[in-house]
Symmetry: C2
Subunit: 307 residues, 2 copies
Amino acid sequence: MSLLVVGTVALDSIETPFGKAERIIGGSATHFALAASFFNSDTRLVSVIGEDFPVEGLKQLAQHRINTEGLQVKRGEKSFFWAGRYHIDMNTRDTLDTQLNVLADFDPVVPESSKDVDFLMLGNLMPSIQRKVLEQMHERPKLVMMDTMNFWMDTAWDDLMDMISRVDVLTINDEEARQLTKEYSLVKAAKQIMQRGPRFLVIKKGENGALLFHENKLFFAPALPLENVFDPTGAGDSFAGGFIGYLSSKNDLSFNSMKRAVIYGSAIASFCVEKFGIERVAELTQSELDDRVQDFIDLVQFDIDLV
Amino acid sequence: MSLLVVGTVALDSIETPFGKAERIIGGSATHFALAASFFNSDTRLVSVIGEDFPVEGLKQLAQHRINTEGLQVKRGEKSFFWAGRYHIDMNTRDTLDTQLNVLADFDPVVPESSKDVDFLMLGNLMPSIQRKVLEQMHERPKLVMMDTMNFWMDTAWDDLMDMISRVDVLTINDEEARQLTKEYSLVKAAKQIMQRGPRFLVIKKGENGALLFHENKLFFAPALPLENVFDPTGAGDSFAGGFIGYLSSKNDLSFNSMKRAVIYGSAIASFCVEKFGIERVAELTQSELDDRVQDFIDLVQFDIDLV
């Protein structure tokens, strides 16, 4: 099944307690597409870059057979740039610089050939831009998933609520779920969010894993406890890309399939943090992924016979 | 197999965003014993109370067939008292009052009949007091488990390290594990702690679950996401009591049995927080517990066939 991912393709400068990387390839759509391409060879990308974007970045997307027909290149402009520094806990960070550049007036254009994709992932963009993508579709995709953040709750509430009402799966982090609903309990927050539209809700808790909600069902996947977290940038996007990449490869939207998608997403995310940027996921092999999924099985599996 | 739990039997005044309770029965040993008694009918308690301790408290322990031969009652003295107020997140709290009273010069005396118990749980007390208990044993128990906290790292480091070297299972929370080892990664922290002695380590992460470490093995149990957390006091102690109560009832110290113990401990803890103090665990039924364990199975179970 075809998959279209929409989001940022960016240059990031990242400092962690373990090292520094300057102007490396990042962005939500980059992470979505790379992670998804591991499962789905028909992954397409809509985004925008400037003339300064390194050609090796495009080469890496091509090597992973990601269709970049929808990637606009703006002559004479610069790519979206983000710089940040992680604290020792690796869970909190300071943004040192944000240059919107080409993103400031991003007008996403879905190529004609992608207007009938089966699965659509809308990255964390301004809700009105997410809507512009959805409205270019000839038919509503089988599954529409979106990510968002607190910034849009503060600045574009009505547009955000409109978009939330249109999607099948929403991903959001725990603090944002609380902010959106004014409920501290994530169970109560999830109920309220699902009443606004999404049939499935993924609440991301960073190093504390992710919760999948659907009707009265609940599934939890831990993040894999790691000896070394090298760079958390893109972990959430790798999770989302692995999740929808797996789902679109199977075309099975049962809750059991969704659970597997959460595990595969978590597994890809656990690789993402091992190196800077996209480096680790770009070199990932199938047997490494299988071993990692086995680690997840070992981590949570227990046998209790209830009589 | 016989089980002895040692810790505080206290009076607590608790304020949460949902209500207030004055001078209710609490304390680590109370929670240990109640939780453990659900699995093991030979549960014994060593602690100390003052004359002000309500007779209903003793009645409840008796109703759960907890042997209180080792519970000292100090005439003319007052019980250990703690007062605290939880914040809206229910994860952080302010201590409003601590009156050590009988705990100030607690000299634990293990009854002659309990000096050969099979399982021993040492609650979070001054490490030198924990040692006094261990040294009264005729023979080293099959399993010794202890809980501790950051306060003893700051005030009794050498005694604490000595005790840690003597036990089989240590329970500690995530922040304390980091403080003890100066390692941020819990995987690295766990390795370092196990090098100091304990063969098994449980790192408690509050609403984010618990990790069990043993050799190179790792198991994770989430806390059950709940709609309402009413009073978190005693959740960690209920976990520990359920854990060692289950283990001592089975006398099986394999890693698979330890995993089940973590799940039963987590299940008991998930009841503890539903009402003030010991109220909910005291009235718990077997079928309620079975249903809750099924909730844990549903929460984490997935099927992926790796070829």
